[in-house]
Assembly symmetry: D2
Homo-oligomer: 360 residues x 4
Amino acid sequence: MPLQTTPEPAVSHDTMWGIQKPSAGPGIKLVTVPVPAVGPKDVRIRVTAFAICGTDLHIIEWDRWAESRIKPPLVFGHEFTGVVESVGSDVLLVKPGDRVTGETHIYCGLCYACRRGLAHLCQNLKILGVDRQGAFADYVVIPEGNVWKLHPEIPEEIAAVHDPLGNAVHTALAGPIAGLRFAVFGCGPIGCFSVGILKASGASWVAAIDKNPLRLELAERMGADLLLNVEKDSIARSILDRTDGRGVDGMLEMSGHPQAFRDGFDALANGGRVSLLGIPSAPLEIDVAKEIIFRGATVQGINGRLIFDTWYRMEALLLSGKLDIRPVLTHVLGWSDFEKAVELQRSGKAGKIVLKRDHP
Amino acid sequence: MPLQTTPEPAVSHDTMWGIQKPSAGPGIKLVTVPVPAVGPKDVRIRVTAFAICGTDLHIIEWDRWAESRIKPPLVFGHEFTGVVESVGSDVLLVKPGDRVTGETHIYCGLCYACRRGLAHLCQNLKILGVDRQGAFADYVVIPEGNVWKLHPEIPEEIAAVHDPLGNAVHTALAGPIAGLRFAVFGCGPIGCFSVGILKASGASWVAAIDKNPLRLELAERMGADLLLNVEKDSIARSILDRTDGRGVDGMLEMSGHPQAFRDGFDALANGGRVSLLGIPSAPLEIDVAKEIIFRGATVQGINGRLIFDTWYRMEALLLSGKLDIRPVLTHVLGWSDFEKAVELQRSGKAGKIVLKRDHP
Amino acid sequence: MPLQTTPEPAVSHDTMWGIQKPSAGPGIKLVTVPVPAVGPKDVRIRVTAFAICGTDLHIIEWDRWAESRIKPPLVFGHEFTGVVESVGSDVLLVKPGDRVTGETHIYCGLCYACRRGLAHLCQNLKILGVDRQGAFADYVVIPEGNVWKLHPEIPEEIAAVHDPLGNAVHTALAGPIAGLRFAVFGCGPIGCFSVGILKASGASWVAAIDKNPLRLELAERMGADLLLNVEKDSIARSILDRTDGRGVDGMLEMSGHPQAFRDGFDALANGGRVSLLGIPSAPLEIDVAKEIIFRGATVQGINGRLIFDTWYRMEALLLSGKLDIRPVLTHVLGWSDFEKAVELQRSGKAGKIVLKRDHP
Amino acid sequence: MPLQTTPEPAVSHDTMWGIQKPSAGPGIKLVTVPVPAVGPKDVRIRVTAFAICGTDLHIIEWDRWAESRIKPPLVFGHEFTGVVESVGSDVLLVKPGDRVTGETHIYCGLCYACRRGLAHLCQNLKILGVDRQGAFADYVVIPEGNVWKLHPEIPEEIAAVHDPLGNAVHTALAGPIAGLRFAVFGCGPIGCFSVGILKASGASWVAAIDKNPLRLELAERMGADLLLNVEKDSIARSILDRTDGRGVDGMLEMSGHPQAFRDGFDALANGGRVSLLGIPSAPLEIDVAKEIIFRGATVQGINGRLIFDTWYRMEALLLSGKLDIRPVLTHVLGWSDFEKAVELQRSGKAGKIVLKRDHP
């Protein structure tokens, strides 16, 4: 395991601890870096908890995607929550002391997408902790336009995962739900969140598909009506059998796995919706005629979260008690457990792991 | 009370009992009439249970609307369930013995609306029990295209109210729901159904408004988060106070009362949805500039049910257990209690009353 | 005629000419006022042409609406174009010398509406020239977020009317158009623009309704297929006769006149769209049951323009040559003709009047 | 060329001429077959003109698809027009002598898709001339529910191609058009129709892509703003250059060619629409992450036509003169020219070829 975690404690008000990809190649390093500066439209947040995304694992392991995208050295991480420490001169939305989290898609506000209300698809998109300094650190700086002020009743561990939860809300709510049947492919944290959101939103039946029994169990705790294991079950056949031969009205793809695309389309009702969030690692083959055209399917590419429509609806689902994601938050650890958390996550023996600040 | 209920028992296979509006004016009569004939595309149903709609009260009491629309003598009634007794030569969907109910909007299938998938808005619409012989009888005949075959798990008393429940489903599902806040004006059966449907579909908060404490209590049992009594409470103010001053994202109008229109718009968030089902008894005044235009509201006229999209989603909500309407079904009586049921319903001391066949 | 136009020439770099509502009551005054300051996110524009909106007439005449809304003294006006003179330190979108116009709805960016992509329905909306200093002046200042940079091929007189043209684009494009039939009530400039936009967008047939023959003639030049004069014609009957009895698929209300609401609904196909932009001067009576509910109509309140989705589509329609609004621009005068322009507009003997800078 | 066209003239009132796929394998035969019977809900049409679809070429040539789908002997063909000869006892919509054409998707009316208004995606779909006896014959029989009565002003050669024209209308109108930019891949008849429909519907700019110069010329005559030849031009680059680097708002895929999928996505704006009608002959590889997910694209499978929403809008576009498809109808021949027409179409030297009845 290539982590380099020799601690280098923060020694002044101007520096802070951070978890860094130090150079091209596997591994990370715990470093002392300058506290990021606050521009007139910026908000600096004292991070109190964060979580590790699959993207972070790619950065740590330095896969092809990381190699093509990341410019080390970089303090990374983008799932976080904290308290506003200082604000730029133009900031109106929040003040020091406010509990916040943030939208990690840093948009330009000036491009064709941004100016038409599609900031989450900004043509000049920078992702926090990917394209600029991230949140695995004492402090993180984001523009006011990316800050989400937390309701006092939202607990810290849930605040820390608003980014992936928002992905799930955006995906699930991308079409009608109530009184319809769904299949969710991939029961990682976002897939499990999606199961809960669909059920909270009136989905009459949800099948959850994975190969990992623990993840399927989490999906069940989130309300899945049928659990299917890709290593044992005939996926499309099982779904068709349980839906009067009609198939599901909607399919949420959260795995990125080619087989999920095949099974998912085969299990889809004519005229159904396919919402794609999981990132396939390579181009994949699709029988477009049979699966999309003759089926009259609508396939949606889902990216990020609607800014901030998704956030308001996520907050409302949480505060109303209709959505309870705690079953998926299997571990709450401390920042000093970072390596252990990475291992747990890699092993598939965890749902979502939240790490809380455990140094002053 | 002008009911004329002298029973005239069915004496042959060709005749049956029915509840009739015998002539222009208040009152009804229990009569023996010919069993309706079955055309090649028709289905004849032995009625096993029915329910009384507000429309039926208008027919019984013979108000202005009834006078302008009803052509006595007429066996009326349109909320019903039963068992298929015989089918026409062209019928494929059902066979004798099938448990069914029916869509009461008899559409022509040939007009501009019908041919574009808007059969519920047919330009030549005939309503069962209003424009043609209805369901308060031993037998009712409807076209195959109006028959809804019941799932075996749907209980009879719920099957009998699919027509008004479908109104509520159509109204509630006419826009996004999950993670949004709503106000429902009018807590008669359809309003109470709507509260339950909204909550089952992810509405994060629902205010219910009426003047009748019993009805408000039923709305609460269906999941309403805030009960407001128009005779005591400041409606719009109370809603704005409970929604951070934003107002509700959607308003469902189920009362037809002019004050509900004023309060409802005042309590609506900018860009909100207004879905109108309740029928005002007269034209009413609307401050179009303030309430609709500057607010950017979308106002939807809702009529009937989508044929049969609404029905599939209603069935799915019921079968999944997400929607339980039993609190609203306050009374299950027999056909011989018809007069009592009418009185109960008039008095406001009941939710929905289902009457089951109690003669052979 | 209560205009007070004694000129007070600009005497320094710090002051400028402006047309002002000097105090509560009818009339205006040509004044010298300080050049407005430029904040870090602001853009100061040297106005080169402007146009007079119906709203401006209300301010000049000081009607009830003006009395309740305007706080004199105020330099008013909001339809304009010009050249960027200076920009605040944070501005990225434009630089001095750029030809621009602007979105006149100044939004807060922080409210529930703004943060969900509905900035045109901002809960804290300020309108240029109504709630803050406007554009009938040498210079106007607007936030960068309201600036629209003009394509070089857009002529000045068309740039000056982007605000009302955007209203028309927003209204017309609020639903499907191609292969559908429409009625436009009110043939002022926005109504005439709408006729042109509908026809450019594939409307198969457009009826235009007004009482002013000149305005009807302009509507015809914009492509209207049927002209109806409310003082002579039976509006709904004529439309039904020409649409096979079906009625129009969509109705655009640009007059604010109560009769238009009645005629428009009566001429609407079941399931049709009603898009309301014209501001009625008082609440009005609507037969909600007949006109909206049984008809299954969708009624949309339209306000402002989608920021900037409407603008991009407006630009594309103009540049492609599909939309030519020049027939509506009946007069191009100079700023010194302001009083004459007001008179012309009041008299109904003009379409849109553009006033170009005629002093240095 | 494997056609077997030995004529076998109709010899009685009970038999008719027809063009038949006589047995598995390439080739066709002109045969005498019984005139098809008319059921109670059916309409028998005396065919007066027809056209040859790409599907017909597959049947003639007997490719893999034909082998798997067609059950010889079969009189095929599905693009046609004619005059009602006789109607079943239940038919209300038309009477003998009416000019008609028909929707070729024969739907069951009973399945989950049909009962929710998606008859064009019927789970038991039968296609005229593919799954049941077709229209290359003296008479064809279709259910009343598939008949489209022609407006008197629609000329015969246009009536004969309502099926493919309807495909184009359905595809183009599957999303917003006015003030947006498009690319159409594949300039066969349906692609060329689509160019015309998009332009008639307010598309501000349309690029047309093919490799056949004649087809590109037809696209230009239908209004394409940019012609790109896949054998010479860099497609995506050319489109991005001409759209300020934004890409097109919508892409219509009418070729089925894998390269079109790659180029089309690469030329698509973030958040854009992709409407797929062309049938790829095999599964194809898609870079789902880059092309669909990160782009936030919506990909629609398009099949058939909306019954009859598409038809009404098609008729309105034609009658209004906004859409003129005559440039694409390059040849009008006689039935006896069938072989020549097939050759012409195969050679790529024709747009759409209409064949009119030339025997009594």
